[in-house]
């Protein structure tokens, strides 16, 4: 019966440092250097979970990242982490691990009844049922299916830990620290290259750590010692190369949480490194494959190499007897080491002829060898009791553990991320890398060369070649192998599937409970392509991504289809190589730091003076001020009245500002704006509209001519970046003959709008020395003045429709000037007004803004058609005249007045002509709404079919989301001061 024990001596564990940990609430003990898996085995806990579909008892299969079975939920509260494989978790004191898919416990699991219904759950059964009785029935079944699936349970609590990201660069990156990787690193380092070695394991050494050879261990420590002496070498253990991206970008996940479950302040739990390597050496080794036979999922059935690792690295061995079943040479390594540790070992070898060297050594080590013999089945329910052999020797062997080896699969994953398909190699019955990309090199088991000496010599060569590719050609002497290192011959007899007669389930993908029979069913139904096989059976789609199962499955399917494995192909290898925390990918760019805040030069003032802010794109904008009220609804009305009746000041620093200059500046603007700018007089501003090439409105703003060849352009806040890039595009790629320079001044200048009938008075108080008379600074005029030696630009523009000015000044002075104006004009009752009022005032005036400029509307839709130059050429002129863009019944800009005093207009309401049925898409919709202080009613801007042709008509504004319909009248969008008397006052 399956049983394991800890040996008194040996292994790499530190017996002086004990760790206490909990498994399903039970207190267990282990040592530093243990993994959760080795510690549990040492405690003879072999049944650690249940499979997710059939709820079969499961134990550890492997000792590494490929583990399909031994998954746990570790940590508590915000640190709860499901689906962690016990073979990769380093034991730490106080670790809490819980089993999955088992209730109340793995040993006694209620859901085990599932296995009775097992015959139903063959591949694809979901697609064949749960359809009835009615159409929507799936909605009834789905919750049960969902509950049953899903492995471990996560937590809703936020993750308390910190993650960081980092950029790094090097000449040569070596992935994997086995003999091949160590040799490559050393050889590359000797050329003077900047070398990084990355190893997912906690120690460097790879497969060497699983051996018990003193010479090899000596070699390992000497090489590492020499590497540590190089300033140009970075050794990263606990760092997994997760993916390789275009441009030789390698995503490395560095784990820092191994020994401290709760990191200190500012200390990252994990770090994602984006490393750019000039060249890469793959030394990722190979993963052993299970054999497919009945009940091969019983706890105690493991990979032979895993038994060897547990023995040599963790000093954990099967109680007394072990049965090794293999089709190749490597399993003998495990067999000999186990025998040497006093375990009685029998070996069933599918091959009838075995290398004499092995047979002799076996004989002297006292192993029972059964050539030409495989395994048909294992007996035992929650562990193995005995193995039933078949073939030349149909013996029954009592044992505590079964070590299986179906051959080796090179870890080719990373070599394939760039899109290069791996290929099948007959001689070792394995998938090996296809051609490597330029700058990529490989050595050791990953390339399918399974020998120590060759791993080192080829690794050393790869290191030198990689350095040379990165431009470092200095001589570097090859790395010498350990004394007496040799390449044992490697032979394998591929056997992919169990002898037919046995009836128990034979698993291919342990985690997803995919059996050989499921593959047969997929074949019957025609899901032949490896991709269909995968998707139909979910094979290889688990947390292990099929590291142990893919090749066996492909081979079985190839066999059923009777095509050579080479033609079957493989599924696509995708990053990440092993699961990686989402938090690590996001790093610190989350929460408050998710995206930068863009702040006006007046931000601090707003904050200190009762402003409530609103996110507008990246900008933080002063929405309304508490002097006017504590809700936006209350405040904006007060702020509007202030502007209509007296004077207010508002922050317009967010406007895009662009410096346009050069001999051809006027010509340039004349081309990008629909209206003329060539003849704009110096000292004058003009409102302009730009189209995109497609003839749709891109942006609007005012542009001022400062001198003949110098203009000051403003854009909308939202489009500033787009417009800037667009102007640069035109100048740098299309109109390269134009001598024009554009520079963004958005950050250089702050701006404020001083608006209201009393605005001139206000500014006069602020700038007593300047002549602000209507003559000297008329509407659309520009005047540069100085105050305390600081240049201030006064633009007589109005967004609100009142007499108004924009005051622009260098950013650092904006707050000070703002305060100066507030003080100077205090007698007039000047106060700040925010974004909400700003937007409402412009609605009353009928100025279009973001909600109307949504890339769907034309000049004519917005009632601006008249602006466009008839004769001159401008961007968008041609496509603007496309048939449908000129159609008379297009939706175009109108104003609306609410006709039902006690009710409300709402943005997003759909418009209908009075009396017509309220359905379909209507004749338009409301873009922006406000309460009009001037008119004492709700008004809105809207787009309506045919536009102002319908002026005066009564229409219906439907808002079915609130079961509302209100009556409104179509009016001019210019609700106030149509003839513009106030502007020119």
């Amino acid at each position: 019966m399956t049983a394991f024990r800890r040996l008194a001596t040996g292994g790499r564990i530190d017996r002086t440092r004990r760790h206490a940990f909990h498994f399903d609430g039970e207190l267990c003990k282990g040592f530093a250097g243990d993994t959760l898996a080795s510690a549990l085995l040492a405690e003879n806990i072999t049944l650690v979970g249940r499979s997710f579909k059939y709820h079969r008892p499961r134990g550890f299969v492997s000792a590494g990242v490929e583990e399909p079975n031994g998954l746990f939920t570790i940590g508590e509260e915000g640190r709860t982490e499901p689906n962690i494989s016990g073979t990769t978790i380093e034991l730490s004191d106080g670790l809490k691990a819980r089993s999955q898919n088992a209730w109340p416990s793995p040993a006694f699991d209620m859901m085990a009844v599932n296995s009775l219904a097992a015959p139903l759950f063959q591949s694809g059964f979901y697609y064949k049922t749960f359809m009835g009785p009615t159409k929507g029935s799936w909605m009834f079944y789905e919750p049960f299916i969902r509950k049953a699936a899903g492995l471990g349970a996560g937590t809703y609590m936020a993750d308390p830990d910190r993650y960081e990201t980092r950029y790094a660069f090097c000449d040569v990156l070596v992935i994997g620290s086995g003999p091949a990787g160590l040799a490559a690193t050393l050889a590359a380092a000797r050329t003077g290259a900047r070398v990084a070695l990355t190893e997912q394991d906690s120690e460097l050494g790879g497969s060497l750590l699983s051996e018990n050879s003193e010479v090899n261990e000596l070699w390992r420590t000497e090489v590492i010692a020499e590497l540590e002496s190089f300033p140009n070498v970075e050794l990263k253990s606990r760092t997994t190369a997760q993916g390789i991206y275009d441009g030789n970008l390698v995503a490395l996940l560095e784990r820092r949480d191994h020994l401290r479950p709760q990191p200190r302040k500012g200390e990252a739990r994990q770090i994602l490194v984006q490393l750019r390597a000039r060249s890469i050496v793959f030394a990722t080794g190979a993963l052993e494959r299970p054999l497919v036979f009945s009940n091969n999922d019983r706890p105690g059935v493991m990979l032979a190499s895993a038994l060897r690792t547990y023995l040599n690295r963790y000093a954990v061995a099967p109680e007394q007897r072990t049965l090794i079943v293999t089709n190749n040479d490597t399993a003998y390594g495990a067999a000999f080491d186990l025998a040497a540790a006093g375990v009685a070992v029998s070996v069933a070898d599918h091959r009838s002829t075995i290398a004499p060297a092995l047979l002799n050594r076996a004989a002297s080590a006292g192993l029972a060898i059964f050539p030409g013999t495989g395994i048909a089945d294992v007996e035992g329910s929650k562990g193995v009791v005995r193995g039933r052999l078949s073939g030349a020797h149909a013996a029954v062997v009592e044992c505590d553990a079964v070590g299986m080896s179906g051959g080796w699969s090179p870890a080719v994953h990373l070599t394939s991320h760039g899109g290069i398909k791996p290929r099948y190699d007959e001689t070792i019955a394995a998938i090996v890398p296809g051609d490597l990309a330029a700058g990529h090199f490989g050595a050791g088991a990953v390339m399918g060369t399974f020998g120590l000496a060759s791993a080192i010599s080829l690794g050393s060569a790869a290191g030198i070649n990689a350095a040379a590719f990165a431009g470092l050609t200095r001589k570097s002497k090859p790395v010498a192998p350990p004394a007496g290192a040799e390449d044992h011959s490697y032979s394998i007899l591929p056997v992919w599937t169990a002898p037919r007669e046995s009836k128990g389930k034979a698993f291919v993908d342990f985690q997803n409970d995919v059996t050989a029979r499921d593959i047969r069913v997929a074949h019957e139904e025609g899901y032949h392509s490896v991709e269909h096989l995968k998707r139909y059976t979910t094979l290889g789609m688990g947390t292990d991504q099929g590291k142990t199962s893919n090749i066996n499955a492909l081979a079985i399917m190839a066999g059923l289809r009777d095509v050579p494995l080479a033609d079957a192909g493989t599924t696509t290898f995708r990053p990440p190589y092993t699961g990686m925390a989402m938090g690590a990918i996001a790093g610190r760019t989350i929460g408050h730091h998710f995206r930068p805040h863009r702040r006006s030069p007046l931000h601090d003032w707003h904050q200190a003076n009762g402003a409530t802010f609103l996110e507008a794109g990246l900008w933080m904008r002063a929405w309304y001020y508490d002097w006017a009220g504590d809700t936006p609804e209350a405040a904006y009305v007060k702020e509007m009245e202030l502007v209509r009746k007296g004077v207010g000041i508002s922050d317009v620093s967010t406007l895009g500002k662009i410096d346009v200059r050069g001999p051809d500046a006027a010509e340039f603007l004349n081309r990008v704006y629909v209206n003329g700018f060539a003849k704009l007089p110096v000292g004058k501003a003009r409102y302009g509209v730009m189209l995109n090439d497609d003839g749709v409105v891109l942006d609007d703003g005012t542009t001022t001519r400062l001198t003949d060849d110098h203009f000051y352009m403003t854009t909308t806040t939202a489009q500033a970046g787009e417009v800037m890039s667009w102007l640069e595009y035109l100048l740098q790629t299309q109109w390269t003959d134009l001598k024009v320079h554009v520079t963004s001044l958005t950050d250089e200048w702050g701006g404020m709008a001083v608006s209201g009938p009393k605005s001139r008075e206000a500014l006069q108080l602020a700038f007593p020395g300047s002549n602000l008379s209507n003559e000297n600074l008329p509407y659309m005029g520009c005047l540069d003045i100085r105050q305390d030696g600081v240049r201030i630009r006064l633009l007589r523009l109005s967004f609100s429709g009142e007499l108004a000015y924009e005051v622009h000044v260098a950013a650092d002075f904006t707050a000070s000037l703002w305060e100066h104006i507030l003080e100077a004009a205090a007698p007039l009752g000047i106060k700040p007004y925010g974004l909400e009022a700003l937007a409402s005032l412009r609605i009353e005036k009928g100025h279009v803004a973001g909600l109307e400029l949504d890339h769907r509307n034309t000049l004519d839709d917005l009632g601006l058609g008249k602006m466009a130059g008839k004769e001159k050429a401008y961007v968008g002129k041609e496509l603007r005249f496309r048939e449908k863009l000129q159609a008379p019944d297009r939706w175009s800009l109108v104003g609306l007045e609410l006709l039902e005093p006690d009710r409300k207009l709402r943005g997003g309401a759909i418009l209908f002509a009075a009396g017509e049925p309220i359905k379909g898409h209507g004749r338009g919709y409301i873009t922006s709404v406000t309460w009009s202080t001037e008119l004492g009613k709700f008004i809105a801007l809207a787009l309506y079919q045919g536009g102002l042709k319908h002026e005066g008509e009564e229409i219906i504004c439907a808002f079915p989301l609130k079961d509302e319909q209100v009556r409104a009248r179509i009016v001019s969008p210019h609700f106030i001061d149509r003839e513009g008397a106030r502007l020119h006052a």
């Binding site: 689906n83 699961g579 929460g591 805040h597 079915p960």
Partner: protein, 420 residues
């Protein structure tokens, strides 16, 4: 030959007699010399088109030719969101028709596509955005489509695990819910349509790449393929990301650019997220698959490519969205990520139409909305091919609409393929 119908009974029968073989879902026939109709592209749209040609129009001498394995394209790699929340006249009706077809699809195909109407919530991050959502919702209601507007409090009730703290960079102002929206098991759609089409005698020919067209005096009469020449009375192109490439073989230059969109899945966990969640701060959407993985995605990488590999900066920004909106995602582990090639149209809306070449029809320009469109796309494309004229549902999806200014820009993004 045993009945090919799927049912609990059939399952039971196979359970008791394990050696009773299941019938093939679809045959893999050798291409015939000639067909009445050949559909190019064995994705969702191509297969659906073939199925509706047989079912709605009685045209059964049909082949679907697929370069690789069916479902190898976007239908097999998308984030499976279905919805019908469109504002533009034409889009609204088309996508609602699609959603109605989804609702009956498993029954219709006798194949469980796991149509899960778990509801989609789109989150607004500003009052202005809430207004644009309101317009959307109102249009939906006025066209008989379900929609509810949610205030912040209602969102908190439905999705208590989002970040509502003061640290949230973009506070949630509310959202819009379509309860009938949801997800569908993507591969099942390809397989279900293929199997149902096959039952009508339609040939599904995999590993058969179209390499050229046979065009005689302005009419398409056949195709050259990697498996030889196939003659056809009529030809339909439904190759999504490869639209330009295949159309060019017929001498057509089309308003489509191929861009990569990435998708992501975490390790499977027990049910946590019971809706489809979309975010208004940056394009981001997430749902939990029945297998338990969080399936999510963002915007396209932003430059044209035919590689199915994404760039890391986009991967990062999507992860940032995920963790910022759903802080608990931080500890979940990314299992796999991949990409698909999308046929981006300037206005983000598709083409289902005749072409300047006789007997040649085009279905493309799907951007990231093509999966939800699959049934209606097949339905209307079949109609267009069968009748050599557009169905009223796809009349607005003409190839030459830009010449006339007939853009259908549902989100007001503007005519840029790399922004849509």
């Amino acid at each position: 030959m045993p009945s090919r119908r799927y049912s609990a009974f059939a399952l039971a029968r196979h359970a008791v007699s394990p050696d009773l073989p299941w019938p093939r879902a679809w045959r893999s026939p050798e291409p015939k010399k000639s067909y009445d109709v050949v559909i190019i592209g064995g994705g969702g749209h191509g297969l659906a088109t073939a199925y509706y040609l047989a079912k709605n129009h009685g045209i059964k001498n049909v082949a679907v030719v697929e370069r690789s394995y069916i479902g190898s394209g976007n239908v097999g790699r998308n984030t499976t969101l279905i919805r019908s929340n469109y504002v533009i006249d034409g889009n609204t009706q088309f996508f609602e028709h699609s959603l109605k077809l989804w609702e009956g699809l498993s029954h219709d195909l006798n194949f469980n596509c796991m149509v899960s109407q778990r509801g989609q919530i789109v989150l607004a991050v500003s009052p202005g955005q809430l207004d644009t959502f309101a317009r959307r919702g109102n249009i939906m209601r006025l066209n008989g489509i379900d929609a509810e507007i949610l205030d912040r409090g209602e969102v908190i009730k439905l999705l208590p695990y989002l970040d509502y703290s003061k640290d949230a960079r973009f506070p949630i102002w509310g959202g819009i819910l379509q309860q009938r929206a949801g997800t569908v098991r993507h591969d099942a759609v390809a397989w279900g349509y293929a199997r149902a089409a096959d039952m009508h005698g339609i040939d599904i020919i995999e590993n058969c790449e179209v390499t050229g067209f046979v065009i005689e005096d302005g009419k398409a009469t056949g195709i050259e393929t990697s498996r030889g020449r196939i003659n056809a009375g009529r030809l339909g192109i439904a190759v999504a990301g490869h639209t330009s490439h295949v159309a060019r073989l017929a001498g057509l230059r089309v308003p489509v650019e191929s861009h990569i969109l990435q998708a992501f899945v975490t390790e499977p966990v027990k049910p946590m997220v019971h809706h489809v969640i979309s975010w208004g701060a940056e394009l981001f959407y997430l749902s939990q698959s029945d297998k338990g993985g969080m399936v999510f995605g963002g915007h396209i990488d932003g430059f044209n490519t035919y590689t199915q590999r994404g760039q890391f900066p986009k991967i990062q920004s999507v992860a940032e969205c995920a963790v910022s909106l759903l802080p608990f995602m931080s500890r979940l582990r990314l299992l796999r990520h991949w990409g698909g090639i999308m046929d981006m149209a300037p206005d983000g809306s598709p083409f289902i139409c005749r072409t300047p070449i006789g007997n040649l029809y085009l279905n493309g320009g799907w951007c990231y909305q093509g999966f939800k469109a699959t049934p209606a796309s097949g339905w209307t494309f079949a109609h267009t091919i069968a009748n050599d004229s557009e169905h009223e549902l796809n009349r607005c999806y003409a190839l030459d609409r830009f010449e006339k200014g007939g853009e259908l820009d549902d989100y007001g993004i503007g005519n840029w393929t790399y922004k849509q």
